[in-house]
């Protein structure tokens, strides 16, 4: 009952961001067999914006970076001088571990 009332009080006070994360703390994990770097967002016109500027050897984890990116975006990572597209993923806010691995010769990302 109290939780129920609290939920309504928060909705009525226009402050649902007290309940919902509006920031993402992102960390990259390299599960491929090669060195990767610069986990980035990719725009519709191919522009990139680096989220995780670290270079990771196979099996390494990056430092954690905090951004106001919550929503659905296109991702890519760089390896051996080329951009590897990772598809569109939803960042739900909060702590996110971006695990990148290789499947059938393609790089794929899983968010945890």
């Amino acid at each position: 009952m109290n939780k129920f009332m609290l939920f309504f009080a928060i909705i009525l006070s226009s402050c649902t961001h007290w309940l919902i994360d509006t920031e993402t703390r992102i960390q990259m994990e390299n599960n491929t067999g090669v060195e990767i770097h610069n986990l980035s967002l990719v725009s519709q016109n191919g522009q990139t914006k680096v989220l995780v500027p670290d270079t990771l050897k196979a099996g390494d984890r990056s430092r954690i970076y905090e951004y106001e990116w919550v929503g659905e975006f296109g991702f890519a990572v760089f390896s051996e001088g080329s951009q590897k597209d990772l598809g569109v993923h939803r960042l739900k806010g909060g702590i996110v571990l971006a695990q990148i691995k290789e499947e059938n010769g393609k790089f794929v990302m899983r968010l945890r």
Binding site: F4, S13, C15, T16, T22, Q44, W69, V70, G71, F73
Partner: protein, 353 residues
């Protein structure tokens, strides 16, 4: 019982989540001049020579960040589209029943609108992609109620990425009213109204003139005109309305159970978008709440939103003497206090002794 209520609310939120739309930063920026027009048109309708005061407020708040995700070249960003407005016009001696001579008035209509990545009541977060427009109109009026004329003028401040300061004039005589607005020397629009419908609030008597139409024409440039017509079809309770401009057209049927339009308004609208698509919607307006879905006004005033339930906490009260009414209403709300006979208690002196 609580579990069932919680479940219903959860399903409601899920449904509202599915009914979402994506504004983009260009649409939000382009909203500011349209709101600037609507705000001054409200001022024009509120400040009539025979009226004394007008108070309006409104907050559109969408509870979930997934309902109005902002679309940019990067993807869609969770956040909140919002609209907050407040307005007041007040003439001096507003409590006089039959003021003679000139009445001076002052008005301020303010609106804050846009998209922010957090929800708020007072202080926005202003994140990376937040776009917040400010539109404020100030003005003075002088009116003669007996001779039915009003003159006014003022400024309007717009801030949508870039700031601008407009100035405007207002002239109303009986059923005709004209309002031009300028940015420096450039004409932004002229709004001309010929409200022919007889209004008891203006001192008109009930007659066949109740069935004359209200007409409005807005001139933006020689290539851009907007026409509006409102026609009473039954006892100033049922109206057919329509607005036409080159890129946006709508028709509506509106029912007010009571001609002051103060207690309840039921509206159904059909809207034709820029690309020729038609869609249907409607809404219910109560004194402090409005609920609407796909309503033409929200498409026009709330970032071209559609497929979205809009809940607005709102208020709009005009006064004239001791009567009150909603904007553009033909008659005052029934005044229960003045119509209810008061039974006087006789003072019995002998009994007191």
């Amino acid at each position: 019982m609580i579990k069932r209520a919680e479940c219903l609310i959860f399903c409601g939120l899920l449904a509202s989540n599915a009914l979402a739309w994506n504004p983009d930063p260009q649409i939000i920026e382009a909203q500011a001049p349209q709101t600037a027009f609507a705000q001054l048109a409200d001022f024009q309708n509120a400040a009539r020579p025979e009226y004394d005061a007008y108070l309006t407020a409104g907050i559109i708040y969408l509870p979930l960040p997934s309902q109005s995700e902002l679309k940019t070249k990067w993807g869609t960003h969770e956040g909140f589209a919002f609209r907050q407005r407040l307005g007041l016009w007040l003439a001096d001696r507003f409590d006089d029943k039959d003021p003679e001579g000139l009445k001076y008035g002052f008005g301020w209509f303010g609106e804050r609108q846009g998209w922010d990545n957090e929800d708020f009541l007072f202080i926005p977060h202003r994140g990376n992609y937040s776009q917040i427009n400010q539109i404020h109109a100030f003005g003075f009026t002088v009116a003669d109620s007996i001779n039915h004329w009003l003159l006014g003028g003022g400024v309007q401040y717009l801030n949508a990425k870039e700031e601008s300061l407009r100035w405007w004039l207002l002239g109303t005589w009986s059923r005709f009213s004209v309002m031009p607005a300028f940015d420096k020397g450039d004409l932004q629009f002229v709004n001309a109204q010929l409200f022919l419908q007889a209004r008891k609030l203006r001192g008109d008597k009930n007659s066949w003139q109740n069935y004359l139409p209200d007409l409005e024409c807005t001139y933006y440039s020689k290539d851009s005109l907007r026409m509006f017509v409102s026609q009473n079809v039954f006892k100033q309770r049922l109206y057919l309305e329509g607005a036409y401009s080159e890129d946006f057209t709508w028709v509506a049927i509106k029912y007010y159970p009571e001609p002051s339009r103060f207690i309840l308004a039921l509206e159904a609208t059909a809207t034709k978008k820029e690309n020729g698509d038609f869609y249907f919607g409607g809404g219910i307006t109560l004194p402090i709440l409005r609920v609407a879905y796909n309503h033409a006004n929200d498409y026009e005033a709330f970032f071209k939103s559609r497929g979205l339930w809009i809940v607005e906490i709102r208020l709009a009260i005009g006064t004239s003497g001791d009567s009150f009414f909603a904007l553009n209403a033909p008659k005052p709300a029934p005044n229960e206090i003045s119509q209810t006979p008061v039974k006087k208690q006789e003072f019995n002196q002998e009994k007191e002794k």
